[in-house]
Amino acid sequence: MKRNLPAAELARDSRFSRVDFMERARDPRPMPSEGRGDRAALTPDRTNAPERARGLMHGIFTGEIQALEGAGRTCWDFPLGTGSDEAPFELKLDMARQCWDEARHCEISVKLGDWMGTEIGEFAESPFLYEAACNPDPVLRLTGVNRALEGLAIDVFNTMREFGRLSGDPVLTFCEDWMLADEVTHVKMGSDWLRRLTADDPDRRARALEFQRVVDKLFSLGGVRGEDEDSPIKLARRFRELAGFADEEIDEIAELSHQAREELRARRAAVG
């Protein structure tokens, strides 16, 4: 079986339509981070809130598929060991457990899609999560995927759970609560393995944290995720603490999101 499978070779049936970053970049309309999407908080009183929730949950669904594929790949792509191109058995065991969770999340997401009136493949799939899981260093994979992107998933699940609570949707609230609990575990795996595998290698730790910063900023979506009152996706500080983030690390993510938002405002002001 091939090691380090590229995103283009992921198996999808005809229901799915993939859109990569470059295709989105070629879109001449303002990007989501530049005001294309609705940047208001996701609350039930917004006219388009249920539609936004459907699109967001389909994005989560495809993210769950890719998380399953990424964790599975990490079990396979590396020989056993503690080198920068190796993975300890216990790390693979954690990834196998994560596969189990992600497979369950896929099933939950399919049923949630049925509930919300969303068909599988109704929205385009962006393969960015899996692409972050293609890093040749397992520690960078775990910081990019488990700490950055699954950390973002914590923020999204928490936001969606609150949306479900406010709109009185018992199914959405219940599903988000259960998946959120698993995500905290996945992020904590990333935090734990980052510290264990780089305890005696500060350069590798620095590279991993830099990779995480790049992914965090890239997917802060122009500050859509943040701590402002009107942030569509709220930074879930408490759950991140439970997932092994130090206060200063959470502050840094909030600052990255704030920076992204200010950069967006500056770009929009420059455009006029």
């Binding site: 294309r36 609705d38 006219t47 539609e51 459907r54 009136g117 493949g121 009185g168 949707d169």
Partner: protein
């Protein structure tokens, strides 16, 4: 006969004639007077999905480009969405013209719950004409506005399957569902 603007799209990969054909087809299907012009103004610069019935006589509607966009293929047209969006607005224009229907407030003054209820009534009629109504999607939107209750589901079914409702009846159905919400006063 429809007038679709702009004539040429530069930011999205939409074809003017394809939209115009879909508009004419759905107008014919719902029984819109064939000698009347319907004007559809598409704002291609925005991927949002807002729609508005600007005028009833003559019928003029404004549509964000995103409302006609295939969610699986960014910047590509969905003729299905053209049919459903234009069909819904055209049916509501006909409702507004019908003296027996009643006198609903202007679109911008409609409470969200009542607007959603009216949309269900319109799209249910389109679905019976063979257009994809995405019933569960509409039900989810309706539940978000009227509560996740059996009463809300029954109200949805009433609206979805009805062919001749008045504005007062739509309001009564919507209000009845809202009154059954667990958090209703």
């Amino acid at each position: 006969m429809s007038t679709v603007l702009p004539e040429t799209f530069t930011m999205v990969l939409y074809d003017h004639d394809e939209i115009a054909n879909a508009v004419d087809e759905v107008l014919g299907a719902i029984g819109f007077p064939p000698d009347e012009d319907v004007r559809v103004e598409v704002d291609e610069a925005t991927p949002l999905a807002r729609t508005k019935l600007v005028s009833v006589e003559p019928v003029v509607m404004t549509v964000d480009g995103g409302a006609l966009e295939d969610p699986r293929r960014p910047r590509q047209l969905s003729t299905t969405f053209v049919s459903v969006v234009v069909g819904r607005l055209a049916l509501q224009a006909l409702d507004r013209r019908d003296a027996d229907f009643g006198n609903p407030p202007a679109d911008e003054d409609l409470p969200v719950a009542r607007r959603v209820a009216w949309d269900v009534y319109a799209i249910g009629r389109l679905a019976r004409l063979g257009y994809p109504g995405q019933r569960q999607r509409r039900l989810y939107n309706f539940r978000n506005r009227h509560g996740f209750t059996d009463a809300a589901d029954a109200a949805f079914d009433h609206l979805w399957t009805a062919d001749h409702l008045t504005w007062d009846e739509i309001c009564a159905i919507s209000d009845g569902a809202l009154a059954a919400r667990p958090d209703a006063d």
